[in-house]
């Protein structure tokens, strides 16, 4: 069974060497850049940039294959239903209408719609490599300190650390409860009827939830005893010092972010790039 939540493995690349805080800040800047902009040129530029970084950080395809499949399914579904629900959305946004083909009844494909949907698709897709880089190259132990570093209260940041710490335990407990229920005679095979399976799921969820509640008592006792929450701040064992590489990375991502804003304000005069004018 998979024990770790994210398949983080240390590989000696420039990306892995960056501190978690740097990576989180860069991730946020770049994500906000592509979320803000509806200019396909900007989006593609960021996407190419992040694919290069992906290459540099030597992430293997096998690590991300499943994610790519999920995302593709999502994108295709989204594209289909968007067209189905609102075939004239592009026309509404760009204010012109260039008909390409008449598909059936009211579904007429326009250049505007195609352009709008393509832009949206890349907008969605472009955040994926960014997220993947952040997740797979950041040591989970640095997560909490990085969150704290960008201004999240340390208690909330520690809640995230606890999630990462106890997810494998809870996952294993789920597995164990399910095994020990099976050993005592619970039928978990796929053959069971739907309603039965729903009921069986509850038979495992309920003990899982209750044992988690017990565990919450225990862990909060242990943390209280070791002085958690005593002061307004706390330090982090795994916080790394900033290096010159960190500064460079931060400057680059800030530049990309500001660049996006500038393009919107001065060139596009709005969030959209309109090639039809």
């Amino acid at each position: 069974m998979k024990n770790k939540l994210f398949s983080y493995n240390y590989v000696d690349t420039p990306v892995h060497r960056l501190s978690g805080l740097t990576k989180l800040v860069c991730f946020l800047f770049l994500t906000f850049a592509v979320m803000f902009s509806y200019d396909i040129r900007v989006i593609l530029l960021v996407m190419v940039f992040s694919l290069v970084i992906l290459k540099i950080s030597r992430i293997k395809f096998s690590q991300i294959r499943l994610m790519i499949i999920y995302v593709s399914i999502f994108l295709v579904t989204n594209a289909v239903i968007t067209f189905f629900f609102s075939p004239e959305e592009g026309v509404k946004i760009y204010g012109t209408r260039h008909v390409m083909v008449n598909l059936f009844s009211r579904y007429i494909l326009t250049q505007e719609q195609l352009f709008y949907q393509t832009t949206k698709l890349f907008k969605y897709a472009s955040v994926i490599p960014l997220g993947i880089i952040f997740l797979l190259t950041t040591n989970p132990s640095e997560f909490a300190s990085a969150l704290n570093g960008v201004g999240v209260h340390y208690k909330a940041a520690y809640a995230v650390a606890l999630t990462l710490r106890y997810f494998p335990d809870i996952q294993r407990e789920y597995h164990n409860i399910s095994l020990s229920q099976q050993a005592r005679g619970l039928d978990m095979s796929r053959k069971a009827r739907f309603s039965k399976r729903a009921k069986n799921a509850l038979l495992i969820i309920i003990p899982l939830v209750f044992s988690t509640l017990d565990r919450i008592e225990l862990i909060s006792d242990a943390m209280d005893l070791r002085g958690f929450g005593k002061y307004k701040t706390r330090t982090w064992y795994n916080k790394r010092k900033f290096t010159r590489e960190d500064i460079t990375a931060l400057i680059v991502s800030i530049m990309i972010f500001t660049g996006t804003i500038l393009v919107s304000v001065f060139i596009n005069h709005g969030r959209f790039y309109n090639p039809f004018l």
Binding site: T31, I81, T82, F85, G131, L162, T163, L202
Partner: protein, 186 residues
């Protein structure tokens, strides 16, 4: 009202572990619903349960962290509009905190009603208002599409919470021991 938003170590631990449970259910324990191609997200039932026990802050963070991390694991990056909506939803569920007698072992008629009214409001606000608006702002999704999606999601989540959340709270209330009730039997 003041300790409504009080954060103790227990709140933090409940948030961390609650989010881990939320993730587990969010990713692996979907009960197929009678409507084809959809499933009931048991995770929201769990989120509402924790929110009712530990308050709005825990509720909001559990759903937010849980949803963000599961998205990250599955898709590589969180889908912020829906993650934020989840957080809002969890926060509103948390308004049921201290409004029912579940901690004292009473969770009957009126308490069940209060809890469910609150959770339905939470689902409506999160999925019919917050999520669609964010989708439109960020991604310029078609208006009719996002609102249709929102209504379906709100309905399904409300049903899930009504079943799983209520069942969990009832079971929890049953384990609460009353003052001086434990005595050894001969």
């Amino acid at each position: 009202m003041k300790d409504y938003f009080k954060v103790t170590t227990k709140t933090i631990v409940a948030t961390g572990l609650g989010a881990a449970l939320f993730m587990l259910l969010f990713m692996y324990v979907k009960v197929p619903s009678p409507i084809p191609e959809t499933s009931l997200q048991t995770a929201y039932g769990l989120g509402a349960f924790f929110a009712a026990l530990f308050g709005p802050i825990a509720g909001a963070l559990i759903a937010f962290i849980g949803h963000a991390l599961s998205d990250a694991v599955q898709y590589g990056s969180p889908w912020w509009s829906w993650v934020i909506a989840s957080g809002v939803c969890g926060a509103i569920y948390g308004l049921a905190y201290k409004r029912t007698g579940v901690k004292e072992g009473n969770f009957k008629g009126k308490d069940i009603l209060v809890f469910n009214v609150i959770q339905v409001i939470g689902n409506v606000v999160a999925w019919v208002i917050v999520a669609p608006v964010l989708d439109i702002l960020i991604y310029k999704e078609p208006v009719n599409l996002v609102f249709t999606q929102g209504v379906v999601a709100a309905g399904m989540n409300a049903v899930t919470v009504a079943i799983i959340g209520t069942l969990l709270l009832v079971a929890y209330a049953a384990t609460r021991t009353k003052k001086g009730s434990l005595d050894k039997e001969a």
